[in-house]
Symmetry: C2
Subunit: 234 residues, 2 copies
Amino acid sequence: MPTTTPHPEQHLTSSAILQDVVIGLSDGLTVPFALAAGLSGAVQSSSLIITAGLAEIVAGSIAMGLGGYLAGRTEIEHYAAERAREQREVQEVPDVERAEVDELLAAMGLSAPTRAAAVRELTANPTLWVDFMMKYELGLEKPDPQQAPKSAFTISLAYAVGGLIPLSAYFVTPTPALGLLWSAGLTLVCLLLFGYFKSRLTGQPPVWGAFKMAGTGALAAAAAFLVARQFSGS
Amino acid sequence: MPTTTPHPEQHLTSSAILQDVVIGLSDGLTVPFALAAGLSGAVQSSSLIITAGLAEIVAGSIAMGLGGYLAGRTEIEHYAAERAREQREVQEVPDVERAEVDELLAAMGLSAPTRAAAVRELTANPTLWVDFMMKYELGLEKPDPQQAPKSAFTISLAYAVGGLIPLSAYFVTPTPALGLLWSAGLTLVCLLLFGYFKSRLTGQPPVWGAFKMAGTGALAAAAAFLVARQFSGS
């Protein structure tokens, strides 16, 4: 039987895309669905619901995508700034930094003699030393510069796709009430399926995951419906 | 002068709340603002914009809050499941796990003799051993069980507060066009201020942060406006 070597970076990349799809889809299926459901109880025209739904999808897609992109850029800048600071500290106050390495190793449970040897080795090479501080003191991994634009695009697209599913029902039904009926049916099925597969991917109980996802969508839609009806009725 | 001892957990908690406020506010200020702006170009009635805006705020607030709560619960379950797995592996395949500890220490840059002593000490106590694997192999910190409900509440509330700011303008203006004017002015000022202080808190350049935040909101609103007008005009 051939043994496969693990390929952690490949795995990281594909699960980062999957994570972005999950982020975009779960919000995209939920919020435009709930907005359209809410308006269904308050207005008489399907075209108005579609206009509001499309405006929301565009707004949410840009806000999430651009927000994700800028957050990714900030993470890269933050990592670079922290790394520069650690590099300076290693040069300027090496004794303080050496004591910090010793403290981290003590927290792991190493004895004083082992720590002494380990501190000597870890601080012998300034690059390794800074690497160690970044990862184990600050808990920061070097972010991939390609990740921010990729994430932005994936989240945006997933949000738009998710949002068009509940809205599509209003395109083909004559009244908002019928639109809501078909939209709710279609979206709840999608939320159940999506929750099921998302939970399977992350190793959680899938049936419970399906109900959590559908329950969140249903609750948001019901609340939006009640608020919109209350307000438009007054 | 009394010296204050550092209190890392306290610091973690307050910055977690702040992080949740930032998440809720940035989406709350952006998406309802852009939706209302979009509808301003497509409908004649301010009350319709308010109805849609309120429905969106309720939907978004529940989706984000409940979503955040459930994600927090999942994180706790995930940590517990991974910990149980590591505990099992430490008992059942101790040699494999010992080799993994050695590998992690080699990646830090430790020599073979130091690693041999460190592996012996780290694997002497099963609890410390599992702690080490959780933190340094899997990069998982024990999540605070109180965090999930707190996060949910904070994100929801911040989203609702953020969303009511752009919407408030439509309550006091006679036409959607005037509502949009005041809403855009008020919201852009809030986004600039919010971006400024958010960037200062995270140590980023604050003026650039202010423009990034306001630019995201303006772009989302402009796109929603164009799409809604395009659709309602056809």
